[in-house]
């Protein structure tokens, strides 16, 4: 590993149009067992009003990346290198007091489990009003009215009364709505949604996804949507980035990535997922093996120990050389563009039924 100095390649300069621009981000944690390289050379851009879906399994670094954008990692145990530009402002080196002005104001976040993510000690209304007071300097009364208005907007019936309730008096779906109201209260330009529907039932999930999409249209918010569920991403995203073991392996528009995927890991994800219209009585095609430990990530291509297409590349390139991810539509794999196309059409697509 140490011999490969320029693994991720020289980062391209930040996209001028991009509202959020992440360049060659590296995040590592000190743990008792050693240093975990949670994110390892990640770059991406997001334009205003668009939705970037980040797909990956546990340990892919998708959540860490987004905590790092808002500086919510624990600085004592975390090392962050690289650049995060939000509307031209560099965030990795920003002071805590400057980050506070960004959080909840320019960029807000929604978390997975709304029960633990809302404080049990304060009313829902207060928790929504707080950031509004802080960022706009509104009076307590005005902020409360704003909170009630937001609750109504996200579909809480009788918002005036419900604002006085505590989170535990809300149902799961209502809590996530309250969470969305809290995130959007200052009309942020960027919303980071970290598996916002994973803890919810499927009928409630559908409501929340539609709600997020409709609110995005109204507010013009850019969304980073993190999930492990390809179905959800297909529903939500304009662009998709697939992450594996701390890095991006494929990116493109939603149609490009889901209809003509290029990376063996993306193929694996599509193949292993049962769908409502897939062929019956055919076994699923899982990805063999398990995700790697980030304490000692595999050399070369991170995916090579689980990849069944290594022999098509030939030689030892997959084991020794980390494939680069070019900007725009790209996949980090040593297969040639022609190989990727034919393998998908001839071998992967037929199995998708």
């Amino acid at each position: 590993m140490t011999t490969l100095t320029k693994e991720a390649g020289a980062p391209v300069p930040a996209d001028a149009d991009a509202f959020l621009s992440v360049r060659d981000l590296h995040v590592s944690f000190k743990t008792e067992d050693g240093i975990v390289k949670a994110v390892d050379g990640l770059s991406f851009d997001l334009e205003r009003g668009r939705t970037l879906g980040i797909v990956g399994e546990s340990g892919s670094g998708k959540s860490v990346t987004n905590l790092t954008i808002l500086g919510l990692h624990d600085p004592k145990f975390t090392t962050v290198e690289g650049e995060i530009l939000l509307d031209g402002q560099e965030l990795t080196t920003a002071r805590e007091s400057d980050l506070e002005k960004v959080r909840g104001n320019k960029a807000a976040m929604i978390f997975q489990d709304p029960l633990t993510a809302l404080s049990p000690y304060y009313t829902v209304g207060r928790q929504i009003a707080e950031p509004f007071m802080k960022h706009t300097g509104a009076s307590k009364r005005a902020a409360w009215e704003r909170a009630v208005e937001m609750l109504g907007k996200v579909g809480i019936p009788n918002p005036k009364e419900r604002a006085k309730d505590y989170p535990h008096q809300f149902s799961g779906g209502m809590r996530q709505r309250a969470m969305i109201a809290m995130a959007l209260v200052c009309d942020p330009d960027l919303l980071i949604a970290d598996e916002p529907t994973t803890a919810l039932d499927v009928t409630v999930q559908a409501q929340i996804l539609d709600l997020l999409r409709d609110l995005q249209q109204e507010f013009g918010t850019a969304i980073v949507f993190i999930t492990h569920d390809l179905g959800v991403i297909a529903d939500m995203a304009d662009d998709i980035m697939v992450m594996y073991a701390g890095g991006a392996v494929e990116r493109g528009t939603m149609n490009e990535v889901l209809r003509s995927p290029q990376h063996p890991y993306t193929w694996g994800l599509l193949n292993s997922m049962p769908r409502l219209d897939s062929d019956l009585d055919e076994p699923l095609n899982p990805i063999p093996g398990t995700p790697p430990s980030l304490l000692t990530p595999p050399s070369g291509c991170r995916f090579h120990p689980r990849c069944t297409f290594q022999d098509r590349v030939g030689g030892t390139r997959c084991v020794t050389e980390r494939p680069l991810l070019a900007p725009d539509r790209a996949s980090a794999c040593h297969l040639t563009a022609e190989q990727k196309r034919t393998i998908f059409i001839e071998e992967i697509k037929p199995r998708l039924g």
Binding site: L70, L72, K76, E96, S97, E100, K101, V102, R103, G104, N105, A108, M109, F111, D113, T116, A117, L118, S119, P120, Y121, Y122, E130, P131, K134, H135, Y166, H168, Q169, M179, M182, A183
Partner: protein, 326 residues
């Protein structure tokens, strides 16, 4: 919530009732005869029998218990020493004083000692604990943690005499511990209790430091604390509004237990500094086989512990709306 407290209150009464029975039975299970102690040098079977009769010890145990309960609620004029209004625990075998008034006499000493100490150890303990949590991983944190480890392994009977020897007898920096009534001379009250407070709170504070630190650190890792940071609230605000609230629960729990048991008599502290509080009284009652006094002290201590348990429950409801609204 009121219903809950009422139910807890009823439960406490039942426990006290059972406790009085157990105390009674244990007392009569003791191999010593209290009358023998009172009988003195000129003891003969006739005088012993007489004492038995006067004390009512010749009656059956259930009968004696019945009398005890009756006196407790309605008072009694049957005592040779004089009238005994409710709540009547009778007269001490040993001193012939009315038990209830003895308890009331000694109570201010224990309350002064305990509350004064509690104020100090709560402030010092929580303060240092929170500073350590705020500066987690720093030199200050490490020093606070190490110091609290050492101090919490100390004992009053070691630290007390040591403090007396150094601070009072050698350097004369402080006065010798003694109790003066607050209303008669507040300065002397404060002066006389200063050393006991310091020693008591040194030992307790270190436990509160550790608890406050670990409970704060745990709370700071809660997801809702992260959410509060994610919406732009300052570190200080999040620390004092979000994390602090949750960290109170374990602290209140332990504080309730500590305060209850200290108010029931801080035996070792009182003995170490020669303060005649309730703890002192309890030891006397046992060593003189003084049934009325023993019952009085036991039930009083138990009441304190149960009372503070209920107060702790009420505090939970105050702190956590999930308790209040369920």
């Amino acid at each position: 919530m009121l219903r809950f407290l009422f139910r807890r209150f009823l439960g406490a009464v039942v426990i006290l009732f059972l406790l009085s029975i157990v105390t009674f039975l244990l007392f009569f299970g003791m191999p010593r005869d209290p009358a023998l102690l009172m009988c003195g040098k000129t003891c003969n079977p006739a005088s012993l029998a007489n004492i038995h009769h006067v004390l009512g010890l010749d009656k059956s145990v259930p009968e004696q218990y019945g009398i005890f309960l009756h006196n407790l609620f309605f008072g009694s004029n049957q005592f040779a020493q004089g009238p005994c209004p409710a709540p009547c625990f009778g007269y001490s075998y040993h001193t012939n004083d009315q038990v209830w008034s003895t308890l009331l006499d000694r109570l201010p000493i224990t309350v002064s000692l305990t509350l004064g100490g509690a104020v100090v150890f709560l402030i010092v303990g929580l303060g240092t604990g929170m500073i350590a949590a705020w500066k987690r991983g720093s030199l200050i944190d490490k020093m606070v943690t190490a110091a609290s480890m050492v101090l919490s392994s100390m004992q009053i009977y070691f630290l007390g005499p040591l403090a007396l020897a150094i601070l009072v007898f050698q350097t004369h920096l402080f006065s010798k511990p003694a109790y003066t009534d607050f209303t008669s001379d507040p300065v002397a009250w404060f002066d006389g209790l200063l050393i006991p407070w310091v020693v008591l709170s040194t030992i307790f504070a270190s436990q509160y430091t550790r608890m406050a630190r670990s409970s704060m650190i745990e709370q700071l890792q809660e997801e809702h604390v992260r959410t509060a940071r994610a919406k732009g609230m300052s570190r200080k605000y999040v620390f004092f509004r979000y994390a602090w609230r949750g960290s109170l629960i374990p602290i209140v729990t332990i504080f309730g237990i500590d305060l209850g048991s200290l108010l029931g008599g801080a035996i070792i502290t009182e003995y170490t500094f020669g303060l005649p509080g309730l703890g002192h009284l309890a030891v006397d009652a046992v060593s003189f086989s003084d049934l009325p006094l023993l019952l009085g002290v036991m039930l009083f201590s138990a009441t304190m512990i149960l009372l503070f348990n209920i107060i702790v429950d009420a505090c939970y409801a105050f702190i956590d709306p999930r308790v209040r609204l369920s």
